[in-house]
Each structure stands twice: as C-alpha cells, then as structure tokens.
C-alpha cells in the first residue's frame, strides 16, 4: 500500500460514500420515515433520495470545474479570500461537530447494547484515537480500507434482509397512500437532510485521480440510489415487523430488527451483537471521514504541507464536544439541528451559488471534464 498517494478511483469514492451514507441513515431512517408519513414513509424516503441526487448533481458539477483544487482553494477563486475562509471555517466547524455527535451516538449505542459497564469516555476515546490514527494516513489508505469493509458491511445487511422477510406482517404496511402530499413532501425534505454526509464530496472531489473523473457524477448518483433502495427495504422490514407505533417509538429500529431475526445456523441469542459489526465499521469510516476532512480544510486555510499536525489537536476538542449533550435524546436533537443547518447551507444553496458564480465568471481549471 502506498501511503499519502492521496488519489483514489471513482469506484473507491463511491464505496466510501455508500459506507458513509449507511452510517448516517441505516439505523434510524425507518423511524424518521414513519414519523414523517406513517405507512407512507417509504414515499418520503424516495423523495429524499431524489433530492439527494439533486444535491449530488450540483456538488459534482461544481467540483468537476476545479478537479485539482480542494473546497478552500476553489472557493477562494470564486469569491473573495476572506469569504472563502469564513465559509470553509464554518464547514470545518460543522464537520467537527458532526464527528463529536456521531462519536457520542456510537458510544451511547455500544454502551446500551454491548458494554454497559464500560465508561462512555473509554468507548469514545478508543474509537477517536483509532480514527485519528487512520486519518493521519491519507485518503488512499481510507479508500482501500473501505474496499475491504464494504464486504464486511454488506454481507450482514443481506443476511439481515433475507432473514427478516419472514417476520414481516403485511398488514402493518397498510393502509397506503393515506398521508397528505404536504406531509410527504415535508418529510422528504427533512429526511434529505440526513444525507448531509454528501457535503464531503465538496472536499473529497479533488482526491479523484485524473483518469477517473469521467462520469463521476453518474457513479455517485448510482451510489446514492443504491443506499436509498436499501434504506427503503429496511423501512419496509421494520414497519412490517413492528408496525407504525413500534417503529416510531424505537430509537434505533433496525437494531431491534436485528434482535428478532432467526438465523437457523447461528445458535446464539445475542445475534444483534454480531450484526452490529457492520454498523461499527460504518461509524468508524464516517467519523474518520469527518476528522480527515476537517484536517484537510485547516491545512488549506493555514497553507501547511500536511494535514497531520491538525489532527491531534482536534482529539480533545472532539472528545469534549461529544460530552456536551446531557443525554441520548439531546444528542438526537442536536444531530437533527446540525443536519438541518448543514443541509440548509451546504447541500444546495452554497454549492449552487458557487456553481452559478463560477459559470458566470467562466472560472474553471484545465482538467475540467464536461461529461456527466
């Protein structure tokens, strides 16, 4: 493995994106869908995926105009340097807050389901130190890890889906098309904010190798659609197994689903602990991504050669931030708020504005590939 080569393929980018999207949506999206639109929550999720594809289209259009520049660099070219730095610092701050909240949520779930005696700080510190160590090694290292992890993640998911199907009571899925269109649309917009991890494409676009830039937008959209399909399947499985009330009341409904499936080959009772392997790997990759890109943004703002010197100082910041929410419900509320504001700013408005300005001013780099 070549360290710090920092150039990845289209396939690796999509793999990373799939894993990151799973980390943010897989466990909780059925609950959000059921809260938004009841038994029609799958339509809200479908709408959210469509919106996510729109976000991807705009973001990839923007990053393809500046294939060799990171977000900080091309924003400086498009708008003035102080404005670019301000926007970048906001993005960096959001990534740090995201990583802290995801870390906290990871710790809470592990503590409640697996390690109830272990102090929360020990769980989060162990994860954080491992994440930071991995983030120091560069983007290509992470991309190659993702190519291995994807199998470890998808195999349990497929097993989960196959063995959960017999548990489904079709009566729980109805009645359909009874929710008002307004509720479905509102739900779609709210759920699309859960796809906020797509903002990482703003920073990650410059790591794509030169010969991999063709049709990257299309590939990324396919990745989003794949995740959307699995999320809708998980919605049907949880709704069918627990009903609307059970899905809405459960904090992590997919985890409950893991607890009720019957795998004949495995004669163990806590199989949900095994199935959590995939979720822990996605969380690791996700937090890793946030920390890595926060370091990259700081590197570019302060014009340093490497992002590594910014990572260790982030450790205490993230660790302390992760302890600020008093409890699990507050963590959920904070995450919802941060996802919302991130989405409001960085999923569409800012990238669209930057794209329009760059098009208006004719700004683009030599490696610009017009294909989609």
């Amino acid at each position: 493995m070549i360290e710090n080569n920092d150039k990845i393929s289209r396939h690796q980018l999509c793999t990373l994106l799939i894993i990151n999207l799973f980390g943010t949506t897989s466990l909780t999206l059925p609950r959000y869908g059921a809260e938004a639109a009841g038994t029609d929550g799958w339509i809200a999720i479908l709408g959210a995926v469509a919106l996510a594809c729109l976000f991807v289209f705009v973001i990839t259009r923007l990053t393809k105009r500046f294939p060799d520049s990171t977000f900080v660099e091309f924003t400086e070219k498009i708008v003035t340097k102080p404005v670019a730095i301000a926007i970048s610092l906001v993005l960096c701050g959001l990534l740090i807050v995201f990583s802290a909240l995801e870390l906290r949520m990871f710790g809470e779930i592990v503590k409640q389901t697996l390690l109830n005696r272990t102090p929360l700080g020990v769980i989060t510190a162990t994860m954080l130190l491992t994440v930071v160590y991995s983030a120091r090694k560069g983007y290509e290292c992470r991309a190659r890890m993702a190519e291995i992890f994807i199998f470890l993640i998808f195999i349990p998911i497929i097993i989960l889906i196959l063995f959960a199907i017999p548990q489904v009571d079709l009566h729980n899925l109805g009645p359909i098309f009874t929710t008002s269109p307004k509720e479905v649309v509102t739900g779609s917009v709210q759920i699309s904010m859960k796809f906020s991890v797509l903002i990482l494409l703003l920073v990650g676009g410059s790591f794509l190798a030169k010969d991999q830039r063709k049709h990257v937008g299309r590939s990324v959209i396919l990745a989003v659609i794949l995740v959307g399909i699995v999320d809708i399947l998980l919605f049907f499985l949880t709704m069918g197994s627990f009903g609307e009330t059970g899905t809405v009341e459960s904090l992590w409904p997919v985890m409950n689903l893991m607890q009720i499936i019957d795998i004949p080959i495995l004669e163990i009772e806590r199989q949900d602990a095994l199935m959590m392997v995939f979720w822990i790997l996605t969380e690791f990759t996700l937090i890793n991504e946030y920390v890595f890109f926060a370091g990259i943004i700081l590197q570019k703002i302060f014009r340093k050669r490497s992002h590594r010197k910014f990572l260790l100082p982030l450790v205490p910041v993230i660790f302390i931030l992760s302890f600020i929410p008093p409890g699990v419900m507050e963590t959920f509320a904070w995450m919802d708020a941060v996802y919302f504001w991130t989405g409001i700013l960085f999923l569409l408005p800012i990238p669209l504005l930057l794209l329009l300005i760059s098009k208006g001013r004719g700004l683009k780099e030599d490696g610009y590939d017009q294909s989609y």
């Binding site: 697996l114 390690l115 009874t178 627990f242 009330t245 059970g246 607890q259 009720i260 009772e269 949900d272």
Partner: protein
C-alpha cells in the same frame, strides 16, 4: 529515536486497551436466567422468579440429583428493575438474561392493564432480553409453574421452548407469541389478542389453551377445541387433526393447508357484512368403511369433503359468534386485514371498530379438497 518512542507508546496503549475488556465477567460469575416468571401481588408489587441452572450439576461436572440441576430466586418490588436490584442482595452472581428461553406471566397480571403495559415497556426498553423468546400466561402463579419438575434435566424455560421447537405439526406452534409480538400488541391502541397458556397439572407442564385479552385484561380462556375453530380464521390449520363423524365411523383428516379470504361490505343500514371463504386441503389418516367401499370412489370422497365443509362452516360460525358475544373483541385482527382489502371502509371504521365488529354479520363458505389418502385405497 523519537519515532521509535512514539511507536512504542502507541503499541503500549494498544496493548493496554486490547488485552482485556472493561465489561469482562467470568462465566462462573454469571447467573444465566433460563426462564423468568412475573406475578403481581395484591398490593400491586411485581414478584419476579428467575430459574437459574446450577451449571456444575447441570453439565455433569459435579454429581447431584436432577432437581438440584436448577434453582429459583424470587424477589418483589414495585418495579421489575427494583426486583432485580433486590435479588442482587441475595445472589452471588450477576444476572444474565441473554440465554432466557421463556417468559411466563402470572394470571394476576391480566387484571391490571397498566401493570401489564409497564411490564411490556420494561422488556422493550432493555436490550438484554432476546425478543424471540415465547411469552405465555400461567394459570395461577408463574412461580409455581417455574418451580415444577420437568421430565428431563432441562429447566422449565428450555422445556417450554422445546415444546414449541420440536412439535412443528402441532397447532400450538401457530399460537406462539414471541416477546417482540407481545410488545407490539401491547403498544397498540386496542390490546386484543390471544396469549398461549402454560398449565401445571399433576406436576406436568403443558401448553394448552389460550388466554383471550381484551383491552389488556383477561376476557376468557379459549380451550383447545375453540383454538382449533379459531385457527381457520388465521390459516393456522397446517397439521390440524380434524375428525369427521360418519354413520359408520370416524374419518381422521389432517389439514395440510387452508386459506381464508375475507370480503368486507357495508350495507345500506350501515351494518358491516364480512364474508369468509375458506379453502382447505386435507389428507385422510384413518377411514373405516363398509366392505366394498374405498376412497378411490369419487362419490365417497365428495361426501367426506361435503361433510367436512359443513363442519368447518359450523365451527367458524360458532367461533365468530363467540368473538362477538363471549370475548367481545376482535381477536382476529379483521380490521387489519381490511387495510388492503377495503381501504375506504377501514378508514371509516377504524375509530369505532369494536362497535362495528360487535354488530357485524358474517357469511361463511368453506370448501375442502381431499388431496391425499395415504398409501392404500
């Protein structure tokens, strides 16, 4: 040199974190609860009974009589968690519920829906329970059932789960309610369902009968015969032995599969009519016939099919009438079925369903086909 020190530091930290586990508990310090029984006392307190195997005797490592292979621990408190805390003052091990095989609820719990909901909330909120385990109602106290001897070395929890697992053709299997199903039903707006019962008679444990819950309260006991009638409504008839009395003997039919289709219509007076169309496929197990008759004769098979159809119609009509008058609850989930069959009617009646159901008319039709007759005519 600095790099070497950094690497050594990182390795040491990794070793510190990887060599052990904060949550590590030695296996001989765990009390594995195989079955859990919960009763409610007159003052509203929960009494929790845990069946714990005595592992050295259970595994044969130490000698001991069969009844020494397990022991029970009981505690009472106003909450279930409080009862566990009370147990810890008398138990030298940590309770572990990850290998629990059955949850038995005493019949006193079914007099107070709020207490039952609190119990359901407890098991839902705690990840330590396997949501696949069967939940049963006890006739009398759950503690008495759990302390009963079993015919083999298995503790009661394993005995109960064994009855379900190893009797796939029994209709009792279809009535099994898992912990997750119990939690889902208890969180619904109307708590109307059947819960299988575990009986202790002459020191023998059996799973027979079902408790009918209406609004979370015991509304009656459904005996095995009624359970067989009910099974037609839920397609639970696979393996059902359905004897038919003929003039010259009894025909033993085993139902291989059946399908009940429902239709819903509201008449001009606002009264719901529910039509049931049952198709069943059966095989003949025993048939005593006069000399010269055999089941190859189509007329004889047709006669058996006709009689079986009529008997099914009668049984199903009796059960539906009992649901309306005796149990006074839709324990079949007919309104759930309406969600897809007649969405408009479902939305109109969902808030007043129990009243609509109480006054509904039923039209039952049944058709039986003898698919197999064994290896002789």
């Amino acid at each position: 040199m600095i790099n070497r020190i950094k690497r050594l530091l990182a390795l040491s930290m990794a070793l510190l974190l990887l060599t052990g586990c904060w949550d590590k508990i030695e296996i001989n310090e765990l009390a594995f609860v195989i079955a859990l029984g919960i009763d409610m006392e007159e003052d509203g307190r929960y009494t929790v009974t845990c069946v714990i195997p005595n592992l050295p005797v259970y595994t044969g490592k130490e000698g001991g009589a069969q009844d020494e292979a397990k022991y029970t621990k009981t505690a009472s408190a106003s909450t279930i968690t409080g009862a566990y805390k009370e147990l810890t003052t008398r138990l030298n091990k940590e309770l572990n519920f990850e290998h629990m095989e059955a949850l038995v609820l005493g019949d006193s719990l079914f007099q107070d829906p709020d207490k039952l909901k609190q119990l359901a909330n407890h098991v839902d909120r705690n990840a330590q329970y396997s949501k696949k385990i069967p939940v049963l109602a006890a006739k009398g106290k759950a503690a008495d059932v759990l302390e009963a001897p079993t015919t083999d070395a298995n503790a009661v929890g394993q005995y109960i789960s064994g009855i379900y697992e190893n009797n796939a053709s029994s209709i009792i299997r279809h009535f099994e309610v898992s912990l997750q199903e119990f939690i889902s039903k208890m969180s619904g707006e109307e708590i109307n369902f059947l819960l299988p019962m575990v009986l202790l008679e002459e020191e023998e444990i059996s799973i027979e009968n079902a408790m009918v819950l209406k609004d979370g309260r015991n509304s009656g006991i459904m005996e095995l015969k009624d359970m067989e009638r009910y099974s037609w409504l839920r397609n639970f008839t696979t393996g059902l032995e359905y004897p038919l009395s003929l003039s010259h003997g009894v025909v033993s039919m085993e139902i291989e599969e059946s399908k009940c289709k429902y239709g819903y219509a509201m008449d001009a007076e606002g009264r719901l009519t529910i039509s049931l169309s049952i198709e069943a496929y059966a095989k003949i197990g025993e048939y005593a016939f006069d000399r010269g008759d055999d089941l190859a004769e189509e007329s004889i098979r047709n006669e058996i099919e006709r009689l079986a159809s009529e008997q099914i119609k009668s049984d199903v009509t009796t059960m539906l009438a009992a649901m309306q008058t005796v149990y006074q609850a839709d324990i079949c989930g007919l309104n759930e079925d309406m969600k897809f069959q007649n969405k408009k009617l479902y939305l109109e009646t969902q808030d007043i369903w129990q009243d609509v159901f109480a006054n509904a008319n039923f039209a039952v039709d049944a058709e039986v086909t003898v698919r197999r007759i064994g290896i002789t005519k």
